[in-house]
């Protein structure tokens, strides 16, 4: 089960710079650990994370094995119109996740 939390301001003025935060529950297995039988636990990290604001890509991150488990990212963007910010990500095992949050723009 892929789980994420997104935080955006409850409302923003048009043209205002807002902070967007996301935290995703993921083990971010770096590929350097061994299980109880001595076998390598294969690397499995979220390698790509994309944020789209009303369909337009506004943020993209390529993550690697140096990122801790349950990655937390934040960035700033300009609020232009009410709508959705949608995050989607994929890990090395090919598992995809997505989560969206509504942005309300006033004025």
């Amino acid at each position: 089960m892929s789980l994420a939390r997104i935080q955006v301001p409850p409302s923003a003025k048009r043209g205002e710079v807002i902070e967007v935060r996301i935290a995703i529950q993921h083990a971010m297995e770096a590929g350097f650990r061994y299980d109880n039988n001595g076998r390598t636990i294969p690397k499995n990290v979220i390698n790509t994370l994309v944020a789209r604001y009303n369909g337009t890509e506004v943020f993209r991150a390529e993550l690697g094995s140096g990122i801790s488990a349950n990655p937390y990212l934040q960035f700033f963007m300009t609020a232009e119109a009410s709508g959705d910010i949608e995050f989607s990500w994929v890990d090395d095992a090919g598992e995809r996740g997505s989560e969206r949050a509504a942005i309300v723009v006033v004025g």
């Binding site: 089960m1 789980l3 939390r5 935080q7 935060r21 935290a23 995703i24 529950q25 083990a27 971010m28 801790s68 488990a69 349950n70 937390y72």
Partner: protein, 254 residues
Amino acid sequence: MTACLLAIVILAACSTQAAQPVPLKSGVEFASADVRSLQQDDFANPGMLWVTRGAKLWLEPAGSDGKACGTCHGDANRSMKGVASRYPRIDSVSTGLINLEGRIQQCRERRQHAPLMAYESDELLALTAYVASQSRGIPVNVEIDGFHRAHFERGRAMYYQRVGQMNLACTNCHDANWSKKLGAETVSQGHGNAYPIYRLEWQAAGSLQRRFRSCLSGVRAEMFPYGAAEYLDLELYLAWRGQGLAIETPGVRR
């Protein structure tokens, strides 16, 4: 006369041995500034991922009757407020000691007729963290009388019992040496008021029993299995010892 005085001194020493640390300090007060700010920021706190998951599980039907936790207990924000501060406690039906995890498991077994969740599984941690987080800010207040008494005494005995190759008891660090350094770590008073916690070393959430296991392995003692009666007794003693500290779940620790 001297013997009498000596007896009084010894008695006084014994009674202080079982007392709470003074002043009572939650583990977060020994953490570094960045760990503290991580715990205080409800979004950046990675333990909140488990709480969020717990909120979803709360409403998810399970078992043959298709009942969710919320079917009986309604809104957890109201019904679960303060609950975590009273655990571990004696279960009125079985008259055995159970902690919050045990209480959730019992509901699954008796009310939902659903399969038990594995101890320390993400699901059980998530539900426990969600329920416990409803009591944030409420002081720990457990009972130690009646049926609790025997468990409490066993927990206290365990707390003062030296174990492992290092030959250390809980008290040797958490009473005698709190606030001092153990390697790069500051030794805390060893309270359970923030559990389940997100521990950066684990890169995951974990229960108080997982923390016990870390301590036992640290002093090179044999670890009890999850859910062991010994852990429950110790949880009760620790809750009493930290009586009055506010619940912080989900805590963040290094």
